[in-house]
């Protein structure tokens, strides 16, 4: 007995899924092999996210060390590669504390709710040609919707912890997440418009010229917005350790803390993968039918490196300044990008509504200019609000002592 997966099924495009489905389908009923193949894929994705998180924690600590004239962890394994494993073992053996007065079910649910959306997001990412688990035709929308679950989890953490620092972190985080969702969504609209599709696979195929060249402004807004959504420097107010200890996860320890950390660093990996797919051309590159996964990993790694570089460099903004950056700087920029791209697509596309490589090249040239001008104009606009007058040196006379001349 052999089962046949319908060609219009969203899972059809995935070769691994079909392989498992066909193998299991030879001995088991079709509905059961459907479920088992799904579980196998979920197993792969969960491990990909958690392993990615482990590698990124290692990379971050090593790279921060290099940025800061330190060595970083280098004791266990080659180049300290097993350090995340040691950290995990330590956290697993720690006592799993729940504070008095905490809302226990909510408190316990948070780590799961933090990791789950990340794994769900990976379902639509094409790691190489035809490898996304579900070739959803609304992939971008799905990613945006699923990623918003994180903000609820963070607020649950802050609220249930019964800790004022956690509450501060949660309130800040929700404010930031809600503000930055808007410019990010608007910046992705331009991408969707040029690719004429919301499916991530089609967006990759549409990138004969990578979209970070075609729409540098959208890439800029997306990266800034995602830094904020991931609570990463310079927008890391939600867990600003010098101000509010650890923010929303102050009270978490042991396994729960490990999961939250995994979600945080896994988030960097998943968002970098999405950025690589949407703006850097994903798996496309020379010999992409064989080496697609390598191009994808290299591009994702480049974006992860960018995030780590931000963290090593920038001080943190204040919460009101973060809001100002979102609403007064990134939002206008994303609107400028949207307007420019709309006009260009309207004027350049051929009679069948298709953009050629030449059209993309023209768009890239125009949009680079638009980007420089827009960032300069809006940058100066929000900068001019903060101007300070130097006061005169004081003429305060301290009784009993003669003043000396000012140097």
């Amino acid at each position: 007995m052999s089962c046949q997966l319908a060609a219009d099924n969203v899972l059809y495009a995935n070769g691994l899924y079909r392989l498992v489905y066909d193998l299991v389908g030879t001995i088991l009923p079709c509905w059961l092999s459907y479920v088992i193949a799904g579980l196998v894929m979920i197993f792969v994705l969960v491990n990909a996210v958690l392993l990615g998180a482990a590698v990124i924690t290692w990379a971050e600590r090593r790279l921060l060390g290099r940025f800061q004239n330190r060595v970083g962890p280098n004791r266990w394994g080659p180049f300290g590669l097993f350090q995340p494993l040691a950290d995990l073992l330590k956290l697993l053996t720690k006592e799993d504390l729940t504070p008095d007065g905490a809302d226990k079910p909510v408190f316990a649910l948070v780590p799961i709710l933090m990791v789950a959306p990340l794994v769900m997001m990976t379902a639509v990412i094409p790691f190489a040609e035809n490898t996304s688990l579900a070739a959803l035709n609304v992939g971008v929308l799905y990613i945006l919707a699923v990623s918003s679950i994180t903000s609820i989890a963070i607020f649950m953490a802050g609220w249930s912890s019964n800790n004022r620092y956690a509450m501060f972190g949660a309130a800040r985080s929700v404010a930031v997440l809600i503000s930055y969702e808007v410019p990010v969504v608007l910046s992705l609209l331009g991408v969707v418009m040029v690719a004429a599709s919301m499916s991530l696979g089609s967006i990759v195929e549409a990138q004969v010229l990578p979209f970070f060249l075609v729409q540098p402004l959208a890439f800029f807004v997306f990266m800034a917005g995602m830094s904020a959504e991931l609570n990463r420097s310079p927008f890391d107010v939600a867990e600003a350790e010098s101000e509010i200890i650890a923010g929303y996860h102050t009270e978490y320890s042991g396994v729960k803390f490990a999961l939250i950390q995994a979600a945080e660093f896994g988030g960097v990996g998943v968002v970098s993968a999405i950025a690589a797919t949407l703006f850097l051309g994903g798996w496309s590159g020379p010999w992409s039918e064989y080496l697609g996964w390598l191009w994808f990993l290299i591009k994702t790694g480049a974006i992860v490196f960018l995030f780590i570089w931000f963290r090593a460099t920038y001080p943190r903004l204040r919460i009101d300044q973060i809001m100002a950056v979102s609403w007064k700087f990134l939002l206008p920029l994303s609107l400028v990008n949207l307007a420019a791209v709309t006009l260009e697509v309207f004027l350049l596309r051929g009679p069948e509504g298709v953009l050629t490589t030449g059209d993309l090249g023209i768009m890239a040239v125009i949009n680079v200019v638009v980007t420089v001008v827009a960032i300069w104009v809006f940058g100066n606009l929000i900068r001019d609000r903060v101007k300070f007058q130097a006061r005169q040196p004081s003429d305060v006379v301290v009784p009993g002592v003669t003043t000396i001349e000012v140097h």
Binding site: A240, E243, I319
Partner: protein, 368 residues
Amino acid sequence: MTIRTEPMTVNVGPQHPSTHGVFRVRITFDGEDIVEVEPVFGYLHRGTEKLAEERNYVQVVTLTDRLDYTSSMINNQAYCIAVERLLGVEPPPRAKYLRTLTAELQRIAAHLIAVGFFVQELGAFGTPLMYAFRSRERILELFEMLCGARITVSYMRPGGVFADAPREFWPALDRFLEDFEVEFAEMEQLLLENEILMIRTRGVSPIPPEVAVNNSVSGPVLRASGVNWDWRKQDPYDAYDQVEFDVPVGSHWDNYDRFWVRIQEVHQSLRIIRQCIEQIEPGPARLELPLVLRPDPGREAYGRVEASKGELAFYLVSDGGIAPYRCKIRSPSLINLTIIEELLVGWKLADMIVSLGSIDINMGEVDR
């Protein structure tokens, strides 16, 4: 429908990543804005003043190391000047220059910590702090050559310094000065004009000169408030009347100026160190004094220096015994902390940490 809101009181410290030790402050917040501030001291009280009455004059030097443990040399200096005034003696010129030189090295080290942590509290994860510590480490190595200790140096003695600098100290100092130019320029390039640092600190928590003077504030905090006041100029001690340097004064009175004044003072300290190296001449590094000092009964002395955080002074009273009858410490950190209300109320939680960093308190000195 109206939503009821109420202020929230938060205990910041004594265990908190950025209260510089065990400082505790009860803050009432309205959202993120600070409404009320109530500092609580005493978590690091070790009774230094009382301990000083139980030890002889030379032993007390080791206690002063532990006051502001980021600037031990300058603490030693203040105490030794007080004892010398109590005895009515004057150290030899070489000792004076050595003291000036080490005090300025210590000032650089302390300002590096202040600036590094200030930027760390702004949220720059580690990088500027590590840059600062890289250079500070070199200074501590120099101290190790001088006296075998890095932090708690006890290098100075009443009547001079513990021992003359070893021969290999001088080339090492030259190498340090050469490297430090480059390292500090790197750090300045990273920080001074940093856009985020500017918008976070410009105009935040200004302290008007009147308020600063009325609260007896001293040191970089006072100078950032636009008051040109430096005890090294006003009441020169050791070799400070022999060297040339400028006093940087702030013009905006805000957090950025407090940061900027420290950066500029590092440059002035380097100038002083260079002049000391030029002017220093061979000779004894310590006055021959009896092992156990017995100042005349009834004498009092006030030794005052410009420490890295402000005016540090020791007031000593002698009853003719081998230990001070009374040792009062005027610590700059404690008195600079008295402006905490003007500094914090009305600003946000994030500014609070930065403002506390900008006055650069050290709990070892506040609680004594």
